[in-house]
């Protein structure tokens, strides 16, 4: 992973917005124990900065925000996830039922029943 960012690099910063003792009243206990945190992306305004440094960035729309540098060239890593075996029977079951194949339809889901 990159450790140093240069002026104009697209980066992600992190910031604590509210410490636990500054948080609103009437929160569930588990939420009250932790701070309210924020992440935002933008372009580095310093000549150079390393992960963990306090930095200032300019966001995509031109707003300036300060925070701790946590990621350089941040990317999206969300996917379609794993193959989910428990889903596989559904389509074939529906198609079988549409043709009136009740026995086959039950067979499709039974193979997964535990």
């Amino acid at each position: 992973m990159l450790n140093t960012a240069y002026k104009g690099d697209y980066v992600r910063i992190h910031k604590i917005i509210l410490n636990p003792d500054e948080r609103a009243e009437h929160l569930p206990e588990d939420t009250k124990k932790v701070p309210l945190e924020m992440w935002v992306k933008g372009f580095l305004m310093h000549d150079q900065a390393a992960i963990g440094d306090s930095v200032r960035i300019e966001t995509y729309i031109g707003r300036q925000v300060e925070g701790r540098l946590v990621e350089i060239h941040p990317s999206y890593q969300h996917t379609y996830g794993y193959h989910i075996p428990e889903l596989s029977f559904i389509g074939r079951q529906c198609r079988a039922l549409l043709k009136g194949g009740e026995d086959l339809a039950r067979e499709y889901s039974r193979s997964f029943d535990v």
């Binding site: 917005i17 509210l18 500054e22 948080r23 609103a24 929160l27 569930p28 588990d30 939420t31 124990k33 932790v34 701070p35 309210l36 945190e37 924020m38 992440w39 935002v40 992306k41 933008g42 966001t59 995509y60 729309i61 031109g62 707003r63 999206y76 969300h78 996917t79 379609y80 996830g81 794993y82 193959h83 989910i84 428990e86 889903l87 029977f89 559904i90 389509g91 079951q93 529906c94 198609r95 039922l97 549409l98 009136g100 339809a105 039950r106 889901s109 039974r110 997964f112 029943d113 535990v114």
Partner: protein, 472 residues
């Protein structure tokens, strides 16, 4: 320089909002508990015709209405002889940002532009963010979206991360936060700092934007089938979708459709809990929003919410997460339509309700949403598995939100469970009267309560008696 503690900022809330919405909400207030809802809705200054034009000029609306013939047939195969209403689907995923939310955003962003605002801000983790970002791109305004996205371990809901990506693709700045209602605090700070327009989901502009959806359904039905639909089912969260759709149907003169709200049952999960945040597999369309926003609509980010579902809802049902995932698969495999899971909440309810209705009746499922990486059945079930949720095939009635997701082993196990609407109406009244229970209500206040709960004054008086009885 203002103080920025939570309390200090909250005390400036009304002043910030007045600047950020361009509406003085105080002028609609009645003496006592009520306010002039229709007066507030008229305050947009746009007629339905104006709104249709505004939306069409930015690519929004006129979405297709499909008849789901194979899903209808499947329902008929499971139903008693002669039962199995025809199911139709309004394909709102065809809007520019992939959901009906484009209708809400189109009006808000257009209005912000007319008033000369430099940018728009919306607090949303859902499709609405993408919609505002997309419309802001069209109108050349700056856009900030504030999301509740992560738990304290920095683990994000895949569906919300995907929405962030989409907003950023449209050139918006996305602020991502950990769990907690102080999202509203951050939101107010940003409004104050930037002076941007609050493109709230709950302004009259937003709700007026959805009226075209109900209006289009009525028109499409009239022209294609020469009648009104018997039932329109709406996925219900903040209440705006239901409110706007119902108002649009009424404006089109469609008085017949029974308006049904449908939410995913997430009973037992606390929406502001850091630990429970990632135990859910739906981030919207669920009871965690649907019920509190019905019984207390003014909990939203504007002084008076224009989304007031109890005014329009004829019945309200819940379905389970596993049942919606099943129907999402069925929609793809039987109808060739791959659409996002949350929007299929109302489809799932329709599948069950169709089996109780005669074959010549019609049901409209009034929305779909886009699907993609993160925002997909497999992505959400993978995330659930990683969080230790038990995924299995069986009878969905045994599902416990936050602990298990049960995919029905047969579609005849898919049901829609009714919520007692009278109970919700009672909760609504109880909340409103918390401090006033010894006071005799004026005629105007009673009328307001009757409109708010879609009841007669006589029924309201009976409910009031019940509320007072339980207070004793």
């Amino acid at each position: 320089m203002h103080a920025n503690t939570v309390e200090a900022l909250m005390s400036r809330r009304n002043e910030i909002m007045r600047k950020a919405v361009g509406l003085d909400y105080t002028k609609f207030e009645h003496k006592g508990i009520g306010f002039d809802y229709e007066g507030m809705m008229d305050e947009t200054g746009y007629t339905l015709e104006d709104i249709t034009k505004i939306q069409q000029s930015s690519g929004v609306g006129r979405t297709p209405l499909y008849e789901l013939k194979n899903i209808t047939q499947l329902a008929r195969n499971l139903a008693p002889r002669g039962k199995g209403a025809r199911i139709f689907l309004k394909d709102e995923a065809a809007n520019p940002s992939g959901s009906f939310k484009a209708r809400r955003a189109a009006v808000s962003v257009y209005h912000a532009k007319q008033l000369g605002y430099e940018g728009v801000i919306a607090a949303t983790s859902g499709n609405y963010g993408a919609a505002v970002a997309s419309q802001a791109a069209i109108h050349g305004l700056k856009c900030i979206i504030v999301q509740e996205c992560y738990d304290s371990k920095g683990d994000g809901q895949p569906e919300i991360i995907e929405k962030a990506r989409k907003c950023e693709a449209y050139g918006a700045e996305v602020i991502q936060l950990t769990v907690g209602p102080e999202l509203f605090y951050t939101f107010l700070l940003l409004l104050e700092e930037t002076g941007y327009f609050n493109a709230s989901l709950y302004t009259p502009f937003s709700i007026a934007g959805i009226e075209t959806l109900g209006y289009e359904i009525a028109q499409q039905f009239k022209s294609d089938y020469v009648r009104e639909p018997d039932m329109v089912i709406v996925t219900n969260a903040g209440g705006g979708n239901l409110t706007g759709t119902a108002r649009g149907l009424l404006k089109a003169g469609a008085m017949k459709p029974c308006i049904v709200g449908a939410s995913v049952d997430l009973k037992g999960l606390h929406m502001a809990s850091d630990e429970q945040f990632n135990k859910k597999s739906f981030t919207t369309g669920h009871t965690g929003f649907g019920i509190p926003f019905s019984t207390y609509p003014d909990r939203s980010d504007v002084p008076r919410s224009a989304a007031r579902p109890l005014r329009y809802m004829d019945s309200y049902v819940t379905v389970s997460q596993g049942e919606v995932f099943y129907m999402t698969e069925a929609l793809a495999v039987l109808e060739g339509l791959e659409r996002g899971p949350a929007g299929n909440t109302s489809l799932t309810a329709a599948f069950y309700l169709a089996q109780q209705m005669d074959e010549d009746k019609t049901i409209v499922v009034q929305e779909t949403e886009y699907t993609g990486a993160g925002k997909h059945v497999t992505a959400q079930l993978s995330f659930a598995k990683d969080k230790g949720i038990n995924i299995r095939i069986g009878d969905p009635k045994h599902q416990i939100p936050g602990q298990s997701i049960i995919l029905p082993s047969h579609p005849n196990l898919i049901t829609a469970q009714p919520i007692d609407l009278m109970h919700l109406k009672q909760s609504y009244i109880k909340r409103l009267l918390a401090d006033l229970y010894n006071k005799k209500l004026e005629e105007q206040e009673l009328e307001f309560l009757a409109l708010e709960t879609k009841l007669s004054i006589k029924q309201v008086l009976r409910l009031l008696e019940d509320v007072l009885e339980t207070k004793k």
